[in-house]
Symmetry: C2
DNA sequence: GTTTGACTTCGAGCACGCTCTAAGGGCGAC
DNA sequence: GTCGCCCTTAGAGCGTGCTCGAAGTCAAAC
């Protein structure tokens, strides 16, 4: 599929897709006869995974590291798993922090409701 | 108290405290005889509140807007409350999103555990 | 055959939120 | 008095993650 189609389906812009490829976050996507990028379903799955890592706050640098390990082969599976586990803990901690902040916010809003 | 002490107690750097003052996020802090900033407890409370807004992802621009409203007086209380309520919804949505991402991550980690 | 439009690469530019530097002032310790 | 240190202001610089622009290619539409 074309870069526009991949952009539409991944929710990323075509600019961003090219950028991700440039920095090695996605492998060199197949090119068709014209030299245009030709994405397939597996590319989209990988993009969806990346998007989830991004949305949970993983840095581009760490995602690149993960992508490198993946390309390096099966012997890096354990290190990848450890990366994900460490990241998982960060996400859990972030949720806990936000949950605390949310109740502080609720408290503050309540005082506004009472005084106005 | 000195800027260093305020930095230590707020968890922000002295650079950041000056920056916040410059952009109007905190009012012009009192100066002592030497022209040095002299923070008081209310300044610290305000910084703690700002820090909480920041940590929940409110932009500096929105925090400035809130600070402006606060300085404008009691008649802006309702608008401030509405700002906080809108922000509250964003935070709640973010927690929901992260919670979903967390289980996706857990699922991925589980597949790693099973295949290695 | 030329216009349109989507694609290519590569590098510059931008928004955000700091973070640091330069240049200078003032005070205490020696 | 001079060294050291912390403060001041104003403005430049930086890291991150895009986002955009320039210059050029190619194929289909008219």
């Amino acid at each position: 599929m074309t870069i526009q189609e991949a952009a539409r389906r991944s929710g990323l812009s075509a600019h961003t897709l090219r950028y991700y490829e440039r920095i090695g976050l996605i492998h060199a996507v197949d090119r068709n006869g014209r030299g245009h990028r030709d994405y397939d379903e597996r590319d989209l799955e990988w993009l969806a995974f990346l998007t989830r890592l991004r949305s949970t706050g993983m840095s581009i640098a760490d995602m690149c590291r993960y992508a490198q390990l993946l390309r390096a082969g099966a012997h890096t599976a354990e290190e990848r798993r450890r990366m994900l586990e460490r990241h998982r803990e960060k996400v859990a901690a972030r949720i806990a922090e936000l949950t605390q902040d949310l109740s502080a916010l609720d408290y503050k809003i309540k005082t506004y409701r009472e005084t106005t």
